[in-house]
Amino acid sequence: MTKRLAGAVLGLAFAAAGSAGAAEPSQITMWSNWPDEPAKRDWVSARVKDFEAANKQCTVKLSFIPKADIYTQAKSAVRTGQAPDIFYMEPDQPEFLAGGFLEPLDGHIDLAGLEDWAKPAWTSKGKVYGLPVEAYTVELYYNKDAVKKVGVDVPASFQLSQAGFLDLVKKGAAAGITPVSQGVGDRPFPGGLLLFESLLRKLGREDYGRLLSGELSYKDPRVASVMTWFRELVDAGAYPKSFATLKLGESHYYFYQKPGALTFPDPSWFTGRAFAPPESGGMPADFPLGIMQFPAMDEGACPTCKTLAVAGSFVMYSRGKNKDCAGALLKSMATVDNGTKWMEQVSLQTGLKSDPARIKSPREAYFGELNARNTNVSYFFGTPLFHYRAKCAETFTQVMNNAFPAGLISVGEAADKMDAACRKSS
């Protein structure tokens, strides 16, 4: 009797332990970028909280880490099997996909929740590998009052001609106002924004694509003419003298606070910093912000072309141990509702589907202008660094991002270096 009782107690204990084990929630780890961008950080945190509330069997250990650190840490971690279940990634890091470290999301999320134009950024061999949360277009922001003050009227098309933009630069420099706020102190791309957007408008989508794929030479006469014009801008004093060391955040402050500048080429993620409170370095509430099109090139093949790209995305580690929870979290994020919330809170485009009619934002005027500048445009997908790899990307960073816009090398030298590093036949 005693033995039977003891057996029953033992059995109950095992059963209780078993049921307790089954109820134990699985913890997944997630690394997100944007530690210093409150709106994006809040959006990610809210999605994770919502997910945890709806899925008691899963908990999420969420960390916000600067992008460069995520890349460096993830490169070591994926090799050793210790990468987080979900981590931040951008499509310009294709080695993770090529190395087989990313899990296809097709079986985990509803792909109908993603914008069709955003899927190709993460599509390989017919499968989608990333959740494209952040998308952007490359825009030319300007200070309406300052541009007017130097005597330039922006036309109704919001697009200056090639000569008109040069005139703007010269007038700004003569008035002692920096024409273009830009710095490359901590980023590999800003110095190329104005030049490459101009090249896109000159060459059109097809030939611009050939240029970025190395099939077209930088010595092509059309490319050379744009680079020569660009060099004129540089020689006229377009960029700040501190261009080489000015950081991205500082170039924001330079544009809308001190000392002020006429224009600011920047991806539309501009809002992440600009819409922060002014005391935190954000744009003053009464700043006369405008958005113009990049200048139309003489005999340009596509004045209405514009770069569209996917940036911050979330990917799943292919060797993760909690793919069910990780997949469920990404699935919960990929909804129209969350896309709409992103647009509302971050004031930036997203690769998630959204419902513009439901967007209620104090920045409606800004959205209206951004939408107007993106009406009837032809998008080219991806910035140069999305297309360039390895030595070519490094040469772009050193030459087109830095030395050429800084006026350190000539048009011919820049073209030679780019062709040597990027041209397929070279």
Binding site: R79, S242, A244, T245, R389, Q398, V399, A403
Partner: protein, 319 residues
């Protein structure tokens, strides 16, 4: 005689066999287990964290490693290295760092030490102030000097403008002609205090009778410095030079933070290039960066041996 014959009868034991019993019987000598207790942890750490990674790096340099795949490529990485223009630029810059910068470091340290030895006013304050940069991290030093070099409001350009030398103002870190020198000066500023302390200790340990004799001979301060102090400090200065040389052959942090190797690779060093190839090249391949690291490991070892040989003929180096 008897003792002689008995000695002759005993076969000569190998040295090791004779040494072993002596160690066992000598109370001052630790036994093998005790030695092992003290040595094994250190050796294990050395083997695991220094020797193994070094050999593994050399081994990896014969492969292309993409993801989890390792493809043996023989000497292909080394052949590619020979034609890698950026690598040679990095080598040139690193040699400039390694051979030129230590002269600046040691000279600055010596001058500061002499100033303290000569009894400048507020010597105690200056000794602390000049040593403080040694205690700062490279990140802090780099950010501080990036501010000093700022074109618009950095103290260097502000000072030049204040004295009417506007033409000399420039973007010190953005100009390929000045960027390397600007970073070298920053590095010298950080380490001057260390060299100062070592030089000051060496000066204070100079034999006082020699210095007093020179003063009795009416030897002036300049002559005493050139003919007595500096020659007698020569071993110390050479030691500092070699230490600085080794450190600068591996320089990474300051360059990475201040310029990232730019502009136009003007400040690229071998270490920053290895890092870029390993982590910023859109590839997981560790084979090629391992080849660069392996080559540079050999170069550093050879250079140190060479410097030892050059200086050894006259001075005894101690590290």
């Amino acid at each position: 005689m008897a003792s002689t014959s008995s000695l002759a009868a005993v076969p000569a034991a190998p040295a090791a066999e004779r040494a072993a019993p002596r160690r066992m019987t000598d109370p001052r000598r630790a036994s093998l287990p005790v030695l092992a207790v003290f040595l094994v942890p250190a050796l294990a750490v050395y083997a695991g964290l220094t020797a193994y990674p070094a050999f593994r790096t050399i081994y990896d340099s014969f492969f292309t490693i993409e993801g989890m795949e390792r493809v043996p490529v023989g000497l292909a990485n080394y052949r590619e290295l020979l034609g890698d223009e950026t690598f040679w630029v990095a080598v040139r810059n690193t040699f400039v760092w390694a051979f030129v910068a230590p002269i600046l470091d040691v000279a600055t340290g010596l001058l500061l030490a002499l100033a303290l030895y000569a009894g400048v006013p507020f010597a105690r304050f200056f000794r602390i102030a000049w040593f403080t940069p040694v205690l700062l991290s490279y990140v802090v030093v780099a950010i501080l000097w990036m501010w000093l070099y700022n074109y618009d409001w950095g103290v260097v350009n502000v000072a030049l403008r204040a004295v009417g030398l506007d033409g000399l103002t420039r973007s010190w870190l953005g100009d390929p002609n000045t960027a390397l020198a600007a970073v070298i000066v920053t590095h010298a500023w950080k380490w001057a205090g260390f060299n100062m302390v070592v030089c000051l200790a060496a000066i204070h340990s100079l034999p006082s009778e020699v210095l007093e004799a020179s003063e009795l001979d009416n030897c002036g301060w300049g002559a005493k410095l050139v003919h007595i102090i500096v020659p007698m400090l020569r071993p110390t200065l050479l030691n500092l030079y070699v230490l600085a040389f080794i450190g600068k052959m591996k320089v990474f942090d300051l360059v990475w933070i201040m310029t990232g190797g730019g502009p136009l690779w003007a400040t690229e060093t071998v270490s920053t290039y290895v890092y870029k190839r390993a982590f910023n090249w859109n590839t997981f391949d560790l084979g090629y960066p391992s080849a660069i690291a392996a080559v540079w490991f050999g170069v550093v070892c050879a250079a140190v041996l060479l410097l030892n040989r050059v200086f050894k003929s006259k001075e005894r180096l101690e590290y």
